[in-house]
């Protein structure tokens, strides 16, 4: 085989494989959205979109699953709960971690080594290990079936402190901190006005990580929350599968409603988010 031939084959092969991967990624999304606009009858009749006489029969699709979701089942409640839980957790956890990371990065004090070691070691703790004792603790604190019981344990992810420490060590020059102090800025002002703006990409990344972590968390709310009025979307959707087992359109509509906000957020933030996520691994 000539060199030219090999090149052409490689060209086709690469693009073919990438195209296939893209299509295989897209199809479940497309199927999900299409199914969410179908009655049960239509769900059985067509795979993706209903086709009649070689054209798409849009009129056979229906928004009824969404209407039922929001009118009969108060799904907006779950949406609001998820938005609230994820925003509060994201903002407070990011602030906690940025402050902690700043202290470990830029102050010399007794106990710093110990704190850093603690943070590093804590990254190894698998979350399922502390589910049972956390449940018991929340029971003793009378925080079961409350939002506080979900938010408080999520406020101090150790890897966040570590990430911010790294970002501040490499991204915030000491001279700048000195200059701010000489200008009479207090420690808190220095942190807010000098440090935070310099680690903005990390803030964006970590806000997204903690927001997503709470939004997509299932096991904690499943265990902690009892009252359906307090269910976040993850549990509310799983409940659809339990209570409306044969209602396919409804289940898929609930899933779409749960995914869309996250996808919008991701599209808005994607540049910083993806590079921020990989930066830790590549530098390490």
């Amino acid at each position: 085989m000539s060199l030219r031939m090999t090149r052409v084959l490689a060209w086709i092969w690469t693009r073919g494989v990438l195209l296939l991967a893209a299509v295989l990624t897209l199809i479940p999304f497309a199927w999900l959205v299409a199914s969410s606009f179908k009655s049960n009858e239509e769900f059985f009749r067509s795979t993706l979109l209903p086709v009649e006489n070689r054209r798409i029969a849009w009129e056979r699709l229906t928004t009824e699953p969404y209407a039922r979701l929001f009118r009969e089942m108060d799904f907006s409640r779950g949406l609001v709960n998820s938005l609230f839980l994820s925003s509060v957790t994201g903002i407070v956890a990011t602030l906690c971690c940025a402050m902690g990371g700043y202290a470990l990065a830029k102050y010399k004090f007794r106990g710093r080594g110990l704190c850093t070691a603690l943070v590093l070691a804590a990254v190894l703790i698998p979350p399922p290990l502390i589910i049972a004792p956390t449940y018991q603790l929340l029971y003793r604190l009378d925080l079961l079936d409350s939002f506080a019981g979900l938010i408080l344990p999520a406020l101090a992810p150790a890897f966040g402190v570590f990430l911010f420490r790294q970002a501040i060590v490499s991204g915030v020059p000491n001279d700048l901190l000195e200059a701010a102090r000489l200008d009479g800025a207090g420690e808190w002002r220095t942190f807010v006005m000098v440090v935070l703006p310099l680690v903005r990409p990390m803030i964006g990344t970590f806000l997204m990580v903690t927001f997503l972590g709470m939004w997509n968390n299932f096991i904690a709310p499943q265990v902690i929350i009892q009252d359906p009025a307090r269910f976040p979307l993850s549990v509310a959707v799983a409940e659809l599968r339990r209570g409306y087992y044969n209602d396919y359109g409804l289940q898929m509509a609930g899933t779409v409603v749960s995914i869309v906000p996250v996808m919008i957020l991701f599209l808005v933030m994607q540049k910083d988010f993806v590079s921020g996520l990989t930066s830790g691994a590549v530098k390490a």
Binding site: A22, T47, Y107, L129, P133, Y135, A156, R181, V237, M252
Partner: protein, 323 residues
């Protein structure tokens, strides 16, 4: 500016200490406090909701509980029971199979896709990257909802799609192919492939930026073929990140829970074939109500994961020493 008289709040002290006019001697004690004030929100939450539960999980693992309130000390019998519990071994085996599946199928594919995306003059590169990464943003619960219907007999996309595709080459694919009934592990591994292949690919892509272009050119001049070039130039450059990705995949895979839990309607699937370690932990802790046994399972999981991390560290260090 007045010297600090009250200790209310970090702001007050911080402003006072930062002020150059405050005499050094007075501020030293407070200045030492500043890093602790910055650390305090984290430390308080961390101590209460990570350290304390961690210690408590040791205590709990030596108790039998009936719900969160009633406990009875049983010593190491939870651990002894665990070793003799056939369901735990089933869970361990299933989880290991799933993990190996993700390692040996998913990661090579992820690397292959990352390499494909490095092709020069590729149009739509950014879009493909974005698209392949996007499923990892979808929560496992939501992906599980989707896949539970995709893999249904008769109506599911998997069987219908395969049927219409394979009919083109004259193969008859049965709509009754039992993904969720007979091919449990394959189903879980395929679903996780969709969720995470792009995520892992992104890390490999970032690592491939570390491959030195001059080395590639030099090896081309030396007449090395693409396969040789891959092993001698690319692999050494991406090795640290690859180790990280492998470790992340192992840790993530060993915590598999929501996917089987949702897909098999809050059960461990037919004949417990979708039983995983965390699913078993959940069943014991929150269905049976024995938080003690659940904690023992948690420790078994932790030991496995720490061992994996240690192995990864040691091999990484060995490689650093070798080069």
């Amino acid at each position: 500016m007045t010297p600090p008289t009250s200790t209310r709040g970090a702001t007050r002290i911080a402003e006072a200490v930062g002020d150059a006019h405050v005499p050094r001697r007075r501020s030293r004690g407070l200045a030492g406090l500043i890093p602790w004030l910055f650390l305090s929100p984290f430390l308080v939450c961390f101590a209460l909701f990570t350290l304390y539960p961690l210690v408590q999980s040791v205590v709990l693992s030596m108790q039998t509980t009936f719900g969160p309130g009633a406990t009875r000390f049983v010593g190491v019998s939870n651990y002894r029971g665990l070793m003799q519990d056939p369901l735990f071994w089933t869970a361990l085996r299933n989880t290991a199979v799933y993990t190996l599946g993700s390692l040996f199928i998913q990661l090579p594919l992820a690397l292959g896709l990352a390499l494909g995306l490095e092709t020069p003059n590729l149009r739509g590169r950014g879009w493909v990257r974005l698209l392949l990464f996007s499923p990892s943003m979808v929560g496992v619960v939501f992906a599980a909802m989707m896949f539970s219907l995709i893999f249904e007999k008769q109506t599911g996309l998997a069987n219908q799609g395969l049927r219409s595709l394979l009919s083109m080459v004259g193969v008859d694919w049965s709509l009754d192919f039992g993904w969720l009934q007979q091919h449990v592990m394959a189903t879980l591994i395929i679903a996780s492939l969709w969720m995470y292949v792009g995520f892992n690919m992104t890390f490999f892509s970032a690592a491939l930026q570390n491959v030195r272009k001059d080395l590639i050119e030099a090896s081309v001049v030396d007449g090395a073929g693409p396969i040789r070039r891959f092993w001698t130039v690319t692999v050494p450059a991406i090795r640290p990140v690859a180790g990280f990705v492998v470790l992340m995949s192992v840790i993530g895979s060993f915590q598999l829970f929501e996917l089987p839990f949702i897909m098999f309607n809050n059960t461990a699937g037919p004949d417990n074939r979708a039983m995983t370690i965390v699913l078993y932990l959940f069943q014991n802790g929150f269905e049976t109500g024995d938080l003690g046994y659940a904690s023992a399972i948690g420790w078994a999981l932790a030991v496995i994961l720490v061992a994996c991390a240690a192995v990864q560290r040691l091999t990484a260090r060995g490689e650093e020493a070798a080069t």
